[in-house]
């Protein structure tokens, strides 16, 4: 398949691995931000190809994982209302809030619809003028423009039965929160190619300079990730802390300006509560005053839920790269995809789910032999 197979070629992968082995002189800790990258790394065993001295940490870049239990509780509360059709992306519906998930609300009678695009929820609102249609707007800068377009179209169409519950989040403030926290051990970042497709990468330049940490904007195929690893290792070895762009076939420094403009027109920046991490300033998007009538919180007069998370779950530490999934005593025993304690286990792109799915024994590099046969 074009644009996929050429980025999964074994020989080229081995060349990158050999080149990384050649230049690396000490231990480095690298965090990939994006859940899609985490998934690709574990699925293709990229961490096992790399030299032992390079450790990978899996960052907070899965929008499903970082959506707070309080927002999910609110979503369930809305979905259970008699007159509401609640629309969600598929991977959000199994994520537990504090008392249940959207799929079980559906089993108990809620009208839950899985949509592939926010525009699908708009069509549902047009087709059901007597019902309230709520779209669960989760995601990062990648999905925000499509949601902005949807809300604009709802306004243009004069829809009065449509609203969104926003849990949209912004990536750079989360990176800064991780970098500025005490005990941070991260030497370099692979930034998420899809987020940068929209936003560009100029936002990372002050972060790289302030914290003296190299950033490489990286794609999602195995060879993208290996090339990104090579670029960042090369920077680390020569003591550089620059922002480089591995994913240049898609990403530019300035990003997609019309998409950014759309986001500015529709949203405003607020503090957001990240699951497992806590509140991060300026890291969330909600509808601005011009579009407030489409805000589900405003429309239904919802109060903000703050709920305690399961204390046995270490997903917050996993999301910050402080722990790896197999280091959790609950991993694979009490906590599995059927009964997840935290969202890193339930979302397919969550680090715990990726480990569980591809390495149910937990296997990190050192356990390869034991665990594979």
């Amino acid at each position: 398949m074009k644009y996929v197979d050429e980025f999964r070629a074994a020989e080229t992968a081995q060349r990158y691995v050999r080149e990384i082995e050649r230049i690396v002189s000490r231990s480095w800790t690298i965090m990939e931000i994006c859940g899609g990258q985490t998934h690709a790394i574990i699925k293709h065993g990229i961490d096992r190809l790399l030299p032992q001295c390079i450790s990978l940490l899996h960052g907070p870049g899965c929008p499903v994982c970082i959506t707070s239990a309080g927002v999910i509780d609110t979503a369930i509360e809305l979905a259970r209302r008699e007159n509401v059709i609640f629309c969600s992306f598929g991977d959000m519906v199994r994520v537990p809030g504090s008392t249940g998930d959207l799929l079980s609300a559906k089993a108990a009678g809620a009208d839950l619809r899985i949509v592939y695009s926010p525009l699908d929820s708009l069509r549902i609102a047009r087709d059901n003028p007597q019902r309230e249609v709520v779209f669960f707007a989760i995601g990062f800068e990648t999905t925000a423009p499509a949601i902005a377009v949807t809300v604009q179209q709802a306004k243009q169409a004069g829809l009065r039965n449509y609203s969104i519950l926003s849990a949209l989040a912004l990536v750079p403030p989360a990176i800064e929160a991780i970098l500025s926290a005490g005990g941070n051990t991260i030497d370099g970042f692979l930034a998420a190619g899809h987020v940068c497709t929209v936003m560009g990468y100029w936002e990372y330049e002050p972060l790289a300079a302030k914290y003296r940490v190299p950033v490489v904007v990286t794609g999602f195929e195995p060879l993208d990730i290996l090339q990104g690893m090579h670029m960042i290792t090369a920077q680390l070895e020569r003591g550089a802390a620059e922002v480089q762009n591995q994913y240049s076939r898609v990403v530019t420094r300035e990003g997609n300006r019309p998409a950014q403009q759309l986001m500015n027109d529709v949203f405003r920046v607020v503090a957001r509560n990240w699951r497992g991490i806590g509140e991060i300033k300026n890291s969330g998007l909600v509808l601005n005053n011009d579009y407030q009538v489409f805000d589900a919180g405003h429309r239904f007069g919802l109060s903000h839920h703050q709920v305690a998370e399961d204390t046995r779950c270490i997903s917050g530490l996993v999301l910050q790269g402080r722990k790896k999934p197999p280091e959790c005593a609950m991993f694979g025993t009490v906590c599995t995809p059927e009964r997840p304690l935290g969202a890193t286990m339930v979302s397919a792109e969550g680090a715990c789910a990726a480990f569980y799915r591809y390495r149910p024994g937990g296997g990190d590099k050192s356990q390869v032999t034991k665990q594979e046969m």
Binding site: M1, L49, D91, T143
Partner: protein, 349 residues
């Protein structure tokens, strides 16, 4: 806030048995197997028979009879490459075929929804007739029920099938042996993607048809060619991965497959990339895997090649007894294949 009665799990501390049936209980993954092994298996099934097979072989007299049943609730009723009628006939024919049986008789039970269009029912019934003729099976008995409007999805169909198994044929998970070669009869994922795109109105830039096909022909052809088939399994819900994991666990032997040898057409690969699906878990209705000794593999491959679906030797059974499935990736690394825990859900990004 949601009250605890909406929580499908009793408590985060207690036993994690869902209190209500979830869609995932029918998804072909882990929850479904828990239900079958637990409640159904322990309460209903006679212990003398193998619940881990697509059908059962019984010997009421001097004849060995394969017996199986299946219910069909596919939505939409008509999809690219087939409809619920064809599926209801060939699905059961295929379960018989996986026992190595020559299909003989079929029952057809209909649950119809009040208001369902007679014209659509006619189309479905004619499809069933054509499918039965092509598979060489006779529909000999049936049942009809009508439920209130809104209580059904147009039409549900149950079929049960009987077939005759030759004396020398012994096809079952227990015969899978170390060193066995695993042959897949064609590319995977077509049915799941075709039905999904029809159901959800996904407009891909290609036309993809279900792989729906009767499998008794190729299986009997292999048997008639003298191949000793150790075990067969058709790949339906849960896809290739779930079939392999189920057999590896049941038999307690490891299976290793090569990802690059598993054929997946460009259309299915593209759709899976977009939706975040793994083709190994996507449903099929005309694909199966055969476990044969290495000596029989070339003949089996020759036979299957004559059906034009592009068969492939995808891996083998090792002598390691931990019962896991591993896949070697194109990069040369290995990963473990697990049974999926529920339905595959389309991802956000």
């Amino acid at each position: 806030m949601a009250s605890t009665d909406s929580n499908p799990f009793r408590s985060m501390n207690g036993p994690m048995e869902p209190e209500r049936i979830l869609l995932a209980h029918g998804g072909g993954g882990r929850l479904m197997h828990q239900l079958i092994d637990g409640l159904f298996g322990l309460t209903l099934l006679d212990g003398a028979y193998d619940k881990k097979h697509d059908g059962v072989v019984v010997e009421p007299g001097s004849t060995r009879v394969a017996f199986t049943t299946d219910s069909f609730v596919v939505h939409p009723l008509f999809f690219p490459g087939g409809d619920i009628g064809t599926l209801a006939v060939w699905g059961t024919v295929n379960d018989l075929a996986m026992c190595g049986a020559r299909p003989q008789f079929l029952s057809a039970g209909f649950i119809l929804e009040e208001g369902f269009e007679m014209d659509l029912l006619r189309r479905i019934v004619h499809s069933m007739r054509a499918a039965a003729d092509r598979a060489g099976i006779k529909i000999v008995t049936g049942d009809t029920k009508v439920v209130d409007r809104g209580k059904g999805h147009g039409v549900y169909i149950n079929t049960a099938g009987l077939g005759i198994v030759d004396r020398n044929v012994q096809i079952e998970p227990g015969r899978i042996a170390p060193g066995d070669v695993i042959i897949l009869n064609g590319d995977i994922g077509r049915h799941g993607i075709a039905v999904l795109s029809a159901r959800e109105g996904l407009s891909f830039a290609f036309a993809l048809e279900s792989d729906l096909a009767p499998l008794a022909g190729p299986v009997l052809h292999m048997l008639d060619s003298g191949i000793d088939l150790h075990c067969l399994r058709d790949l339906t819900r849960g896809g290739l991965a779930s079939a392999l994991v189920e057999l590896a666990t049941t038999r307690g032997l490891n299976i290793c497959i090569e990802e690059q040898r598993v054929p997946v057409c460009a259309e299915v690969r593209s759709a899976c990339e977009i939706l975040g699906f793994d083709p190994l878990y996507v449903a099929n209705e005309g694909r199966f895997i055969a476990f044969v000794s290495p000596a029989d593999a070339p003949t089996a491959l020759d036979v299957l090649q004559s059906y034009g679906t592009g068969p492939s030797v995808i891996g083998s059974v090792t002598d390691c007894v931990s019962g896991i499935v591993t896949v070697r990736t194109p990069l040369g690394t290995k990963r473990i294949v697990q049974m999926f825990s529920g339905e595959q859900l389309p991802r956000i990004c």
